[in-house]
């Protein structure tokens, strides 16, 4: 059953539990053949940087880096909130696989009408 799905993640190392579960759900969506976007905003934009999540491993879950790598390898896309990214002085040349910096209009277009989403 085709369709789209959005997972919004606004946390990083300030709440590794939420960040991890967000990517677990994103993996479930992409594995269910949904065209899936993870939208990283606010502190969550830090997850867009290669190496940042390497030391995040919540008990009972796969390491966050592994979850993110698997998500991208399965065709998932990561949208990174541009103003949040710039505010934190993050590096455009150091994005993880599958990530692209976008403004709000790109997300609005993707979500269109009636697209399911879940926020962390």
């Amino acid at each position: 059953m085709p369709g789209k799905f959005v997972v919004s993640i606004s946390v990083a190392k300030n709440d590794t539990d939420k960040a991890t579960v967000g990517f677990v759900i994103a993996n479930a969506a992409v594995a269910s053949d949904r065209e899936t976007v993870v939208f990283l905003s606010i502190e969550g934009t830090r997850l867009s940087q290669r190496g940042y999540a390497d030391d995040v491993h919540e008990e009972g879950f796969a390491p966050l880096q592994e979850l993110m790598t698997n998500f991208a390898a399965a065709g998932g896309t990561i949208y990174v909130c541009s103003p949040c990214f710039k505010k934190r002085g993050l590096d455009e040349e150091n994005l993880v696989s599958g990530a692209k910096i976008v403004g709000g209009a790109k997300l609005v277009e993707f979500m269109g009408e009636g697209i399911p989403s879940i926020s962390y």
């Binding site: 541009s82 103003p83 990214f85 910096i101 403004g103 209009a105 277009e109």
Partner: protein, 96 residues
């Protein structure tokens, strides 16, 4: 001030894209992006139906955002020149 773009190379042409896009106005948005940028574009383009606005937008999200915004709003993205952060947008006709 009118700004005339260089002629497109064959590999750069896409569908019915114009070879040369002449802009009626130019706007340098600097580092502005996201919702702030598209609100400014909305105001400017509404005031110039059928005409072309050249926008220079250096925000790293602009290359994804402006094309998406044009697709949603009915304005025509006539050309994008990433090396100069430039977008030529033809304003849609005013809706009655």
């Amino acid at each position: 001030m009118r700004v005339r773009a260089r002629r497109l190379l064959p590999r750069e042409r896409c569908g019915a894209a114009m070879d040369v896009v002449a802009a009626s106005e130019s706007y340098d948005a600097g580092e502005m992006g996201c919702g702030e940028l598209v609100m400014v574009l909305r105001t400017k383009l509404r005031a110039m139906p059928g005409q072309v606005l050249r926008v220079v937008a250096r925000d790293p999200g602009a290359s994804e955002d402006i094309p998406a915004w044009c697709r949603m709003t009915g304005h025509e993205l006539a050309r994008h020149e990433p090396e100069t952060y430039s977008f030529w947008i033809r304003a849609r006709a005013n809706r009655s």
